[in-house]
């Protein structure tokens, strides 16, 4: 149980700066996810908290105490490493028991046995206790590493991509197990992942990192519904959010300001609240972010607001079909029911549900507004 504060953390490897002025406060008992593409500095940040890396500048506080110069063994944290970092010369049992056999966290063998059994049962590796790490599959190794982390009750759990090497099926179930376990864990957890589903599912709050800097901190809902810029919007959701270039124009029918997509002359009507914000916003060049779920399609022209395109690819993936549509040299991915059939280069018409669209500034790629923005900002965690 601990609160973690990072203040102005900067870390360089030679001339490359891996972390750049990171400020972060993780509350007691919070499940905090560090999320971002490869090379964003997530692992380095985690290791800085663990005491395995030392920052050039800035302060690390655990429970208010500055721990910059505290050795990692005395920080009372436990960590899952992405490459597992199991002891190759020890059995699975001894690997998991290891943290409880050091002088610092000494437990008697009876206690160890119980704890190891409990955690291995949860990880479904209790039949592997006598094996060496070299005799395990990657998925099994990862679960051993997770087991070694969870067997203790430290101040902070640090987890670096603990599910990354599992196959899709196992990952789905382990994520569920972790999520269910959260209620019984009485520790702060900092979790690194590049899988947006893990981040959204597990996190109380998420910090999105890119190039060693924090881009946005917020709940999963804020990330998904009100991302601070296009970069964050693209990270959440599958297929990736479509970003369409748009321009302000005047709708001939209503006389109000509306948007038109570059390459199409159809004017798309806006909700009043979006219109007001946009009217005050200077930029003329607008990007419309719209997810695949929020676009309707039809194979015939249904009139106003339906934009013509052609089918670029039609990919069934089981419970749905991802159709990629070319509109004025721009690919738009939409999700369709799983029995959708379409020929390549066939004409198709789409309608954007602008109520769900995110509006970005076309020059800075910063988020401007969306319909009903207040309801997403306020709710936060309360949505659930």
């Amino acid at each position: 149980m601990a609160q973690i504060e990072l203040e102005g953390i900067t870390k360089r490897f030679g001339k490359i700066s891996a972390l750049n002025n990171i400020n972060l406060k993780v509350e007691d008992n919070e499940f905090f996810v560090l999320f971002g593409p490869a090379g964003a500095g997530k692992t380095t940040l985690l290791k800085t908290i663990a005491g395995a890396e030392f920052p050039e500048e800035g302060l690390v506080r655990i429970d208010g105490k500055i721990v910059n110069h505290v050795e990692s063994k005395d920080r009372n944290v436990s960590m899952v490493f992405e490459n597992y970092a199991l002891y190759p010369n020890l059995s699975v049992y001894d690997n998991i028991a290891s943290p409880m056999r050091s002088k610092l966290y000494k437990k008697d063998e009876e206690y160890i046995k119980k704890a190891v059994n409990k955690v291995t049962e949860m990880m479904k590796i209790n039949h592997l206790l006598d094996r060496r790490p070299s005799q395990l599959s990657n998925g099994q190794r990862q679960r051993v590493a997770l087991g070694r982390c969870l067997v203790r009750e430290p101040n902070v759990f640090l987890m670096d991509e603990p599910l990354a090497h599992l196959d899709a099926k196992l990952r789905h179930f382990m994520r569920g197990e972790l999520k269910e376990m959260q209620t019984s864990i009485n520790s702060t957890t900092i979790y690194v992942t590049h899988d947006y589903m893990e981040a959204m599912s597990l996190a109380d709050r998420i910090a999105v990192l890119n190039h060693g800097e924090i881009v946005q901190i917020g709940t999963a809902q804020e990330m998904y519904y009100t991302p601070c810029n296009e970069f964050v919007a693209c990270l959440f959701g599958e297929p990736e959010i479509n970003l369409l270039e748009g321009k302000k124009c005047v709708c001939s029918r209503t006389g109000e300001m509306s948007l038109s997509i570059v390459g199409s002359d159809k004017a798309l009507e806006l909700e009043a609240d979006v219109r007001n914000v946009l009217a005050q916003h200077g930029a003329d060049n607008i990007h419309i972010g719209i997810r695949g779920n929020d676009i309707q399609f039809a194979f015939e022209d249904l009139g106003d607001e339906w934009i013509k395109g052609s089918v670029y690819a039609n990919e069934p993936i089981g419970n749905k079909v991802i159709m990629t549509i070319m509109v004025a040299d721009k690919k738009i991915a939409i999700t369709c029911p799983n029995d959708t059939v379409a020929d390549m280069d066939q004409d198709v018409y789409i309608k954007l549900n602008l109520k769900k669209a995110l509006i970005f500034d076309g020059n800075t790629e910063e988020f401007i507004t969306r319909h009903n923005i207040d309801s997403f900002k306020k709710q936060g965690k309360g949505v659930q």
Partner: protein, 278 residues
Amino acid sequence: MEKRKVSIGNILEAIGRNLGLTLFAMFALFPLIWMVICAFKSDAQMYNTVFRFTPTLENFKAVLVGTDYFKAFFQNLIVAGGAVIITVLAGVPCAYALARYNFKKKEDVAFQILSFKFAPEIMVILPIFLIFQKIHLYDTYFGLIWVYQLITMPLLIWVVRGYFEDISVEVEQAAQLDGYAWYEIFLKTLVPLIKPGLVASALLAFIFAWNSFTFPLILSGFKIQTITITALRYIASDTVHYGQVAVASTIAVLPEVIVALFIQKHLVRGLSFGAVKG
């Protein structure tokens, strides 16, 4: 599964294979056997047909009784053993540093260490001789052990460094987070992982040191004698006592053979690397 067929082809194959192995064994062992046989021959019969002679212990008597052969044997043991101990104590941390830390010219330093092994001993022996005389290390244990590092250290550092590089840093970090102090991490986590390489290279270092000839020949000889040097004694001005040389050599290889048989398993595995994969 089908039944195993015993065909003539299979039998011929087995015979051929065994024949080949036998021939190789003879080829490999013959020098040793020859040496042992010589040890039991008298000087008179030395040049007779190989396998027909009257065994005699005369040579053993001449070498062992009333001479300082055993003294030389133990002195050799002290010098070679001492050299290996120093090599392990200094070489393992050195290998660790070369594997783990990044500093300027790291690779140059590493190569420099290895290059000590390239130079023929005879090339450096004269300056060392002069220096040793000046600083009173001539004909001392310490002097020899020190100079033996030239032979033993580079090999060990290079083998063990490779092993350290194979261990991911995260294993050490994990052990730290598990609450172990640095020396515990070193002894409990790292040492078991480098053991095959450490044992193998230490053994090779021992053999090189044990067999060294040039250094003890020039840098010692009065107070300290190694058995490689004592073997020279049997070359008299008029004749070479091959029997006595053979006895001295037979006894001299014993420790190596015993040690090698004992840790044969490590020797093969240790030098073939890649055993650390977790």
